[in-house]
């Protein structure tokens, strides 16, 4: 014990000796700053004091307004000294003190003098300082000097002016835009950094003018750019131009692709990587375009530099999500990275392998991962768990080994987030793979036997209550659940009681036994547990005999709670001081855009190593709950499908609007999610005027305006249409956003009384056949296909004309039909001449549909397709053919 203590003391002593700032105190340093006022300036001493001040600021100390002003004024005196070292420190501390505008005036003339000095270092620094602290009014005075500085022969001065220009463009765009000519000249500079800064500024000046950006890219890609950083910028601008020029891939080569490909042979690694990454992110990239990029990334994988390996494996990981086949060539290199010292690299390599692996390699990979899991941090384990979950959904037949893996790691040590990720994965697998249900539930039961997290225990108990009664032998779960009533804390006990009651309500044979258990729970020490037990005993009815539970009782006890909790909370708060009895029916059911705001929360997903968690079921659930809470939609019946949001505005416009299409049996509801991006405006009575003249079979029945849309807080407005029952009616709709706009004072946040009516044109919206088909996978396509039988089979052949590639044709048909690809057949191996793709889905009216697509190349580019459809209804089979024929 004594030894480490002594050692620690030693360390401490050493450290005390080391730091020149030991025992430094703000008050004392501020006193010292008085030397700035000495008539005979000691430059060295002053530099030291400034360093001390900067040290304090750097350590997080703050100066009061008075202190900062005092220091600032003292510092301005130092401009008298001609010592260069001191001047540098003066520049630095002025920037750190960020003086107010009335203080800035004091140093302006000194700085302007330095801006015109013969000494380059003065000019460069004075520009940066002045531009940092100045406001718009001063800028016009110094504009002339700045323009001169941009084309200064000293690269440091030019860069200082250009970088300052980039910053100033945010606050004073109209002034900076006048410098175009000088900036353009600087792009041709021989200094690499000046070229980089000039290019960045030039692009930002022109960024809203697509044509100008396109011209800039066209002229520069012909090759005058020398600096690697500028080259990286140019690659980014080029991919933007490619993105915006749309997809005319069918008609030959992609513009500028040659430039990107040429950059793969650049001598600087950062340029090679930037180009490779840009190619992998091209819209609808073909395997031919991908190959050279993958090849250079593959070389990086075996580099001795961790940063290079990391960059490459992270990019390949992203590629593997969309084009798993393109990455398979790198599998051998990836496997050697599993043992990489850098755990981020190892994790990315493993998850990439999980995505690219085929069904036969699953078992071998799982074995490797088992060894790997024990020595990585929790956040990496979560990434692996998520990758395994998606793998399992891709190869449902392998669920056994994957489920085993999940249950094994569930038993090992781990934090809450990790355990939660595993439990969530098992829950999703149980929902999506029917065969996995029984074993999955048992794994969860075993887990709660020894689970230290109350939240997870209650979640699992709830889930057991929902899924358990539907299994072949519900009674085997009772023991696990009742054990919780004995061994757990009150929260878990209470939820175990509810779960028991659910079994009792759903399985009539079990009711007498459940009643015995519930009766014992009445003697629990916790009142919540006793209350629940008593409630269930009295409401389930039948006094413990084998009778069916009343449906109303079931709905009352276990139905979904469709009142938004926020609204309930407000209502309850109002109720507490009032005399009137509480009426739950008076709680408003209108949801206040909360779910949307949550989704839009910018990029705060945890540990985003490139695997997004999938939860399609829960979004549909939350949509349904939200729609049902609006009384006008309540009688539309069950929600069949909600589409992914479709953007109706371009990025970064005044108002951002996207739409979600909700399909019901006889109706379709458009949910317009609107965001107001102008802080100075408040929008009221927001509504979308929909013109359905190109959608004859739809008739508008109802529209629900959005009362108010403040800045940056998304809201929704709805429009509902009636359509022929059970049919996949398609059509095109034009949309106009109409609203009353009110000016808002940004300082107070208050809106003016009067508003002006205004309109905003949105893009068109189409309802397509895919909106009527749900993506629902089957675990064994062959069995399902045979089971469906040939009674309602329809087979036909189609010529798809010339296509970029087989893969592109396959993807086009999958998107057209909007069905779920099965058994990984959506992936076309490179260079194959034919391919079979299996799809499954549910057609509106809850009719199962299976599709077998056989593609073949006919001649160099022409694709032919044989489409076989089986479904439970021959009209549906015909409808699928019609979709393909008309698409």
């Amino acid at each position: 014990m004594a030894q480490p203590l002594v050692k620690k003391d030693d360390d401490h002593d050493d450290e005390a000796e080391y730091s020149p700032f030991l025992g430094i105190e703000k008050g004392a340093v501020l006193q010292e700053a008085r030397v700035f006022n000495d008539p005979q300036l000691d430059a060295r001493r002053c530099s030291q004091v400034i360093t001390k001040l900067l040290y304090l600021l750097n350590q997080g100390d703050t100066f009061t307004k008075v202190e900062a002003t005092e220091v600032f004024f003292a510092v301005t005196k130092l401009f008298q000294s001609r010592d260069l070292g001191l001047r540098r420190m003066v520049y630095l501390i002025i920037k750190e003190l960020s003086p107010s505008s009335d203080e800035v005036i004091i140093v302006t003339s000194s700085l302007m003098k330095d801006m015109n000095s013969k000494i380059d270092m003065y000019r460069a620094n004075a520009i940066r300082v002045l531009c940092r602290i100045t406001d718009g009014t001063l800028l016009t005075q110094i504009e002339r000097y700045l323009k001169q500085a941009i084309v200064d022969k000293n690269p440091v001065v030019a860069s200082a002016a250009l970088v300052s220009g980039i910053h100033l463009l945010q606050t004073n765009p109209e002034i900076v835009k006048r410098w175009s000519n000088e900036v353009q000249e600087a792009v041709q500079s021989r200094s690499p950094l000046v070229q980089f800064h000039a290019l960045a500024l030039l692009h930002q000046i022109r960024q809203n003018d697509r044509l100008a950006v396109s011209k800039l890219v066209t002229s520069l890609t012909r090759g005058t750019v020398r600096s690697p950083l500028a080259q990286c910028l140019l690659i980014r601008y080029t991919s933007q131009v490619i993105r915006e020029s749309g997809n005319n891939t069918q008609s030959g080569d992609r513009p500028f692709y040659d430039y990107l490909e040429g950059c793969l042979r650049h001598k600087s690694e950062m340029v090679i990587f930037e180009a490779a990454r840009a190619i992998t992110e091209l819209n609808g990239v073909t395997s031919r375009e991908l190959t050279p990029a993958i090849t250079v990334l593959q070389l990086f994988l075996s580099s001795s530099k961790p940063v290079l390996r990391f960059a490459a494996v992270r990019t390949l990981n992203k590629v593997a999500m969309k084009h798993p086949m393109a990455v398979t060539n790198c599998n051998i290199d990836m496997e050697s990275l599993i043992s990489d010292q850098n755990r981020s690299i190892a994790t990315l390599a493993i998850t990439t392998l999980l995505k690219t692996g085929n069904e036969s390699s699953v078992d071998r990979l799982m074995k490797q991962i088992t060894n790997f899991m024990s020595d990585i941090a929790d956040e990496f384990k979560i990434v692996v768990v998520e990758a395994i979950r998606s793998l399992c959904l891709k190869f449902p037949l392998k669920y056994r080994s994957l489920m085993n893996f999940l249950s094994n790691i569930l038993r090992e040590e781990g934090g809450f987030d990790y355990k939660k990720a595993i439990v969530d994965s098992i829950v999703i697998l149980i929902r999506d793979i029917p065969d996995a249900k029984e074993s999955g539930l048992l794994h969860l039961c075993e887990f709660i036997e020894d689970c230290e997290f109350t939240y997870l225990s209650t979640q699992i108990l709830h889930f057991l209550g929902v899924e358990g009664p539907k299994t072949s032998d519900p009674s085997k779960y009772i023991r696990y659940i009742y054990n919780r009533v004995h061994l757990e804390n009150a929260t878990v006990r209470a939820s175990a009681v509810s779960t028991l009651a659910k079994f009792g309500a759903a399985v009539d044979e079990l009711k007498p036994r459940i009643f015995v258990l519930l009766r014992r729970c009445v003697f629990d020490s916790d009142d919540e547990v006793r209350d629940r037990a008593t409630l269930y005993q009295n409401t389930l009815g039948g006094d413990g005999s084998v009778v069916e539970t009343d449906k109303d009782v079931k709905d009352f006890l276990f139905g979904s709670f469709d009142i938004p909790l926020v609204n309930l909370e407000t209502s309850l708060k109002n109720y507490v001081p009032s005399e009137e009895p509480f009426d739950i029916n008076s709680v408003p059911r209108e949801v206040k855009s909360a779910p949307l705001a949550e989704k839009k929360a910018p990029g705060k997903k945890p540990a985003g190593l490139g695997v997004s968690s999938s939860g399609p079921l829960s979004t549909v659930d939350s949509y349904e709950r939200m729609l049902l809470s609006i009384p006008e939609f309540a009688n539309f019946g069950k929600l069949f499908k909600s589409s992914a949001p479709v953007e109706l505005t371009e990025a970064e416009t005044e108002y951002a609007v996207n739409v979600v299409k909700h399909v019901f049996d006889k109706h379709i509801v458009f949910q317009y999610n609107c965001t107001n991006t102008i802080p100075e405006q408040l929008l009221e009575n927001v509504i979308v005027i929909v013109d359905a003249s190109e959608a004859e079979e739809f008739s508008e029945v109802f529209s629900k305006p959005l009362r108010s849309l403040p800045y940056d807080s998304p809201g929704q407005t709805f429009v509902a249409f009636e359509k022929p029952e059970g049919l996949a009616t398609v059509g095109k709709f034009t949309n106009i956003l109409r609203f009353i706009v009110k000016e808002v004072d940004p300082s107070t946040g208050e809106a003016e009384e009067d508003g002006v009516e205004d309109e905003y044109q949105l893009e068109d919206l189409e309802v397509v056949a895919a909106d009527y088909i749900l993506k629902v996978g089957v675990s064994n396509f062959r069995n399902a296909w045979e089971g469906m039988g040939p009674d309602c089979e329809r087979v036909d052949e189609y010529g798809l004309g010339p296509r970029e590639s087989l893969a592109e044709a396959v993807n086009a048909v999958i998107t057209l039909l909007g069905m779920q690809p099965c058994e990984g057949t959506e992936v076309v191996p490179p260079n194959s001449r034919s391919h079979t793709c299996l799809l499954s889905g549910v057609y509106i009216g809850n009719i199962k549909v299976l599709v077998r697509l056989s593609f073949g190349l006919d001649g160099p580019k022409d694709v032919a397709m044989k489409l076989a459809v089986r479904s439970e209804d021959e009209t549906v089979s015909d409808a699928i053919h019609e979709i393909v024929a008309s698409g």
Partner: protein, 180 residues
């Protein structure tokens, strides 16, 4: 910090000691608005990287949607942070530039004590590498030259030049003798 369009940007540069305490740091982004948020970030980054071996080659990791490139020498830990989508190699070149410049400025005695004793040079160095998130220079030798140019500027009056040079030499001499 306002966004710089598609321009590569650096969120912060950190120089910490072997216990994760600040030697010198510079933040260019608003992601960490308060000093406490900054300290928490530094502590988090330090604890996640301290056990790795980043002494020969720069290492890299992804934390809280930030790419972090880092390198350790003696009791000093160098970090450069950039956004999730940033080109890792560009960030690595910034780290390398910072590291090379510090090595030159400290005359190869790269440790905490030397860094604190020459804190003015380190702060000037940070100032010359990145301005408001935009990369100014990544060449270590050029950065170091810009930092020291104050004592070597050709246009400076002769008397002053010799004086500052003399000071630099004297200080250099002093630190060397102290180290021995």
């Amino acid at each position: 910090m306002a966004s710089h369009g598609m321009c590569p940007s650096v969120k912060n540069i950190l120089l910490l000691d072997s216990e994760g305490k600040r030697v010198a740091v510079k933040y260019y982004s608003d992601d960490w608005p308060t000093n406490n948020a900054k300290l928490a970030f530094e502590k988090f980054v330090f604890s996640k990287t301290v056990k790795t071996n980043a002494r020969t080659e720069a290492e890299v990791t992804l934390l809280e949607n930030n790419v972090i490139i880092y390198k350790f020498v003696q009791d000093l830990h160098f970090f450069v942070t950039g956004g999730d989508d940033e080109n890792e190699l560009i960030l690595a070149s910034v780290l390398q530039g910072f590291f090379d410049a510090v090595t030159l400025l400290l005359r190869s005695n790269v440790d905490k004590r030397e860094a604190l004793e020459n804190l003015d040079l380190i702060l000037l160095c940070l100032d010359e590498i990145v301005d408001g998130g935009i990369i100014l220079e990544t060449n270590g030798a050029l950065i170091a030259e810009k930092v020291t140019s104050s004592s070597l500027d050709a246009d400076a009056p002769l008397s002053e030049q010799t004086l500052t040079q003399a000071w630099a030499t004297a200080r250099d001499h002093l630190t060397r003798t102290l180290l021995k």
